[in-house]
């Protein structure tokens, strides 16, 4: 089941005009911001499908930048996000892509600064719900049917066990888990699908563990 909570249907509280093209876009931008873990200096945003055709009318551009500025879907500042980004000297470019995506509402965001960059692809599946389908070229093979988190960590012994210990302590069952790395001993990724929604406290505890760089909810 893609939609698990009644608040996926009655909600979110948001700035209009579109749950998929405004609220969903803000959420995709915010995941990029959370995974990058700091305010980026620049962002390239590519829109595909319906996003490419209608982003101006729906404020998709404004919303996605609002997300990059860490604004939630109901934050009134979303409306002025392009101005706010300009004042912060955040450099932003938009592209309307011709390629036909698998999902009609697809955005690719690349963010960066002098210390690094991050690229992700997100889709907005309706009612403000989103899924992250790709990160830094890694395809995230998620069913989308369960809540999921993404953990970026150092490729060290015990890192995976420490995360699963926290989940066990909170009585959260892991449905599916995938671990991948680019190079031995360097950056590694865990994608974990769980059976229950994760409270902020669980995310905070995982973030505080040694060898863990970033944690983000990718399916809520």
């Amino acid at each position: 089941m893609k939609f698990r909570s009644v608040f996926d249907i009655i909600g979110p509280v948001m700035i209009g005009p579109s749950s998929s093209h405004t609220a969903g876009a803000a959420r995709i931008g915010r995941v990029a911001r959370n995974l990058f873990d700091r305010e980026p200096k620049w962002a390239h945003i590519s829109f595909y499908g319906s996003f490419a055709k209608t982003y101006k009318g729906h404020g998709t551009d404004v919303a996605i930048v609002g997300g990059l500025l860490d604004f939630d879907t109901f934050d009134e500042r979303i409306k002025e996000s392009l101005d706010i980004a300009r004042k912060k000297k955040m450099k932003i470019t938009f592209r309307e892509e011709e390629a036909v995506p698998e999902h009609p509402n697809t955005a690719k965001i690349t963010v960066g600064d002098e210390d690094g960059e991050l690229e992700l692809v997100g889709i907005s599946i309706g009612g403000g719900k989103i899924e992250i389908v790709e990160l830094n070229g890694f395809k995230l093979r998620l069913s989308g049917h369960n809540p999921a988190i993404l953990v970026v960590h150092d490729d060290r012994f015990g890192a995976i066990a420490s995360v699963s210990n926290i989940l066990a302590k909170h009585q959260i069952n892991i449905g599916q888990m995938e671990v991948s790395r680019k190079e031995k001993g360097k950056m590694a990724l865990m994608t974990i699908e769980v059976d229950q929604n994760l409270e902020d406290q669980v995310i905070d505890e995982i973030t505080a563990l040694p060898n863990i760089t970033q944690v983000a909810r990718i399916v809520d």
């Binding site: 009644v6 009655i10 509280v13 209009g16 509402n105 309706g126």
Partner: protein, 294 residues
């Protein structure tokens, strides 16, 4: 856990519980949150809906200038006493319009199930206030019942205009509202399902063709008719009328129609009303160049 409308009705009948109660219990199970937390969260959404209606009834205008002010016109007309289709019905229509006018003006709303279809559920709910005199808890229950039916549609079909057209957005919202109206008016769970089926049947095939890609034309007026459709279908179900096609099969038909709908009619602003001469003219006025010529 219920996966479709038939299971939902079966659960309600066998446990002798309201649909809103079942939705709250399922939410507790899925999220691990307490009943109080869940009801409180829905209360916050209810407050946002009420504020949006109030704001819209004071008169708002969108940035593009395409929409705004119609909710006020309708309220004035109701007060004149000349309304033909009934004060309650038009009040629901006016409050649905108010919500969507606020949405179009980038105001704060609660998506039900989406932003583009956010007017129907609160429009009907707040119009029933004077007639049925619900207390706060009953208004919150209305939203849980609407949510239960929306939950089934979202998981078995779609609530996205880009995926399934307007039938998936305003169509779903109207069906959700009709089912909730029936429960609030004292109807049975089975009658709620009939109301949802009757409503959705009359929204099948509705395309998503927003002029200039804006959630304004025809979205605001589709919410108006969505609210009217929900009210009438609820009355029909309460009168004892049933749908020959079961609710789950109507939902499935909606899904299949959405899948075969051309992309030009699924929120791309390339077909339907968006592609009419006036639609294109408005688009050019707002964005300088029509989107299809860029």
């Amino acid at each position: 856990m219920f996966r479709n409308v038939a299971e939902l009705i079966e659960l309600a009948d066998s446990k002798q519980k309201k649909i809103s109660t079942l939705m709250i219990e399922q939410e507790m199970e899925v999220t691990g949150k307490s009943r109080e937390q869940i009801i409180h969260q829905m209360g916050v959404n209810l407050d946002v809906m009420e504020q949006a209606v109030e704001k819209g009834l004071q008169g708002v205008r969108s940035v593009s200038g395409l929409t705004g002010g119609d909710a006020v016109l309708l309220q004035n007309y109701i007060e004149s006493g000349n309304a033909l289709s009934g004060g309650l019905l038009l009040d629901a229509v006016s409050k649905a319009v108010a919500t969507n006018e606020v949405n179009a003006a980038m105001g704060t709303i609660c998506a039900t199930p989406t932003a583009g279809s956010a007017g129907v559920v609160p429009g009907t709910l707040f119009a029933l206030q004077n007639k049925l005199k619900p207390n706060r808890d009953q208004k919150i229950e209305f939203l849980f019942t609407a949510g239960a039916f929306g939950f089934v549609v979202a998981n078995n079909a779609s609530i996205s205009g880009a995926a399934g057209g307007c039938q998936a957005e305003v169509g779903s919202a109207s069906g959700m509202a009709a089912a909730a109206i029936v429960e609030m008016a004292g109807g049975t769970p089975a009658q709620s399902a009939e109301a949802m089926a009757i409503t959705l049947k009359n929204m099948l095939g509705l395309v998503c063709d927003p002029v200039a890609g804006l959630v304004e034309v025809p979205c605001v007026k589709r919410n108006a008719m969505g609210a009217a459709n929900a009210m009438v279908a609820a009355d029909m179900a309460l009168a004892g009328i049933t749908s020959r096609i079961p609710c789950d099969e109507v939902i499935d038909a909606m899904y299949k129609i959405g899948q075969t709908m051309p992309s030009a009619l699924r929120e791309t602003a390339q077909g339907g009303l968006a592609a009419t001469p006036t639609g294109r003219e408005l688009e050019a006025k707002i964005f300088g160049l029509p989107l299809n010529k860029k």
